[in-house]
Amino acid sequence: MTEQINDQISAFIDNELSADESALLVRRFERDSEARARAMRYTLIGAAMRGELLDPHPTILRQRVAAALAGAAPISARVRTRWSERFARPLLGLGIAAAVAIVAVGALRVLNEASFAPGAVATNAAPLQTANDPTPQPSYVVPQEVDETRVVTPPTLLTNYLIVHGEYASGLTRTTVNSNVVGTAVESSERETAAAKPLPVGQEGLE
């Protein structure tokens, strides 16, 4: 999966693609299960970042697919289609949405579906916005969401949590965790600045 298609999927979920681009991408979803799965994961990540996991259904993705299919009419009108394809088309969006919903089961494990009753879990859940809502929608791409909510926490208690957490880390990550305990030994003001920086998504590798 190329960087370009990943960016396209992000833009699609953020409703930033043109109608033609959206239609092309939705056609790709029909045949490319990996792209479909990635779209679903991006939607779920966005929902997680926004505290919207109370709604396990890919509402945003369904809306985007439906809008793309509606917006694609001028393109498809140029093609003479058989009657079966014309009748099948409205169902296609539902099919894709269902397909991506199935992918969700693999990406996140819902341990107790009953707990999804409204208000049962996250207290800071934001309402879902619809595609027609004139309010500007925040991006569903992870980095922006992370930046918005990042705060500095008192270092001592968090450091203590980290020490205790390190006791439970696997052999693979224990040295990393303990290095993080001692490796964050910057002055408080520097630490606060460092903690306020965006996470490394979008940052170049360290090598």
């Binding site: 992870v142 926490t153 203590n160 990393t176 490796g183 002055e187």
Partner: protein, 321 residues
């Protein structure tokens, strides 16, 4: 003739299946060896830990294993020179920059989470594990092992494992786009048969430091911990649920541990009125991300060596059952 062809074709199919399985098994064996090596070997060395902002920090590590009991000391040679000592029944975090010593009880957790999943399929349904070739690190021959996550809820790893001992001499954590978010690189390492216990003694003089220690009590595993995360990324399972007194907290802290066998996420739940109040939102220590929020009047923090969306997903899905 037709039968002979069919048998030959089946044989080829079988060979190709075995051929595909063998490298995966080899990678899995190296992973198992590595997991044992970091705990069971005696080693001392110097490594560079590259933090999120690209700043390298040099650290010294001494790891000792005697009679099945392991201890470790890591000292930062740069900056404020913090030190962590895990020895006997306690963990000591020495923070000269704050003139504080954090004293915690060591948890006897090795049977619970420090092991890889017994089922290869279980691990490999969430990670692709493969050998990537040979290289050289700290003047030692190494095998390169690559562990790629199959979704965006966990990090990937590239490990340079000592050819002789399987000790990881270099490691990289990578995000979902394959970019390095943190790395550890040994510049020198010694793996002797024995290391004296005195080598684990703290090197920092803590005279005049404030010691924060938990009130006397042992972690009560199996206590009636009613909190659970109801949405977790696939493969993460609850492996520990305890309640204990912790240094710096006025009331007992409930602690849940979720693990997929490689990555671990801790969830700490404590009273809202705690003196050392924790802010809300994201924070990070190197590759360890944390997310804190208030749920039902309790302060919740989830942290782990996983992408930020994973700690938030787990933290926000907590319910008090």
């Amino acid at each position: 003739m037709r039968t002979a062809r069919a048998v030959a074709a089946q044989g080829l199919l079988l060979l190709s299946f075995v051929g595909a399985q063998a490298p995966a098994q080899e990678a899995r064996d190296w992973l198992e060896r590595m997991n044992g090596a970091v705990e069971e070997l005696n080693y001392r060395g110097t490594f560079v830990h590259v933090l999120l902002d690209g700043t390298p920090e040099t650290l010294e590590i001494v790891h000792r294993n005697a009679n099945g009991e392991s201890g470790e000391r890591i000292l930062s040679l740069d900056g404020a020179g913090r030190e962590i000592v895990r020895q006997g029944d306690r963990v000591q975090g020495i923070l000269p920059d704050q003139r504080i010593v954090l004293l915690e009880s060591r948890r006897d957790v090795s049977p619970l989470v420090a092991r890889l999943p017994t089922s290869s399929e279980e691990l490999e349904s969430h990670y692709e594990i493969r050998m990537r070739g040979n290289a050289r690190v700290a003047d030692r021959a190494v095998r390169v092992l690559e562990i790629k996550p199959r979704d965006e809820f966990r990090y990937g790893y590239t490990l340079w494992l000592d050819e002789v001992t399987a000790m990881p001499l270099r490691s990289q954590l990578t995000d979902e786009r394959g970019r390095v978010v943190e790395q550890i690189h040994f510049t020198a390492i010694e793996i002797p048969a024995d290391i004296p216990a005195t080598d684990l003694e703290a090197t920092i003089d803590t005279a005049g430091f404030t010691t924060l220690r938990a009130p006397e009590s042992s972690p009560s595993a199996g206590a009636n911990i009613s909190w659970r995360a109801v949405v977790v990324p696939g493969g993460f399972k609850l492996s520990v649920a305890t309640q204990s007194q912790m240094a710096g907290s006025d009331t007992p802290v409930e602690h849940l541990v979720y693990s997929d066998g490689l990555a671990t996420v801790s969830v700490f739940i404590e009273a809202r009125e705690t003196k050392a109040d924790v802010g809300e939102g994201f924070s990070n220590f190197g590759s360890t991300n944390a997310f804190s929020l208030t749920l039902r009047g309790r302060k919740v923090t989830a942290m782990g060596e996983v992408p930020p969306q994973t700690v938030r997903t787990i933290a926000t899905s907590l319910v008090d059952e």
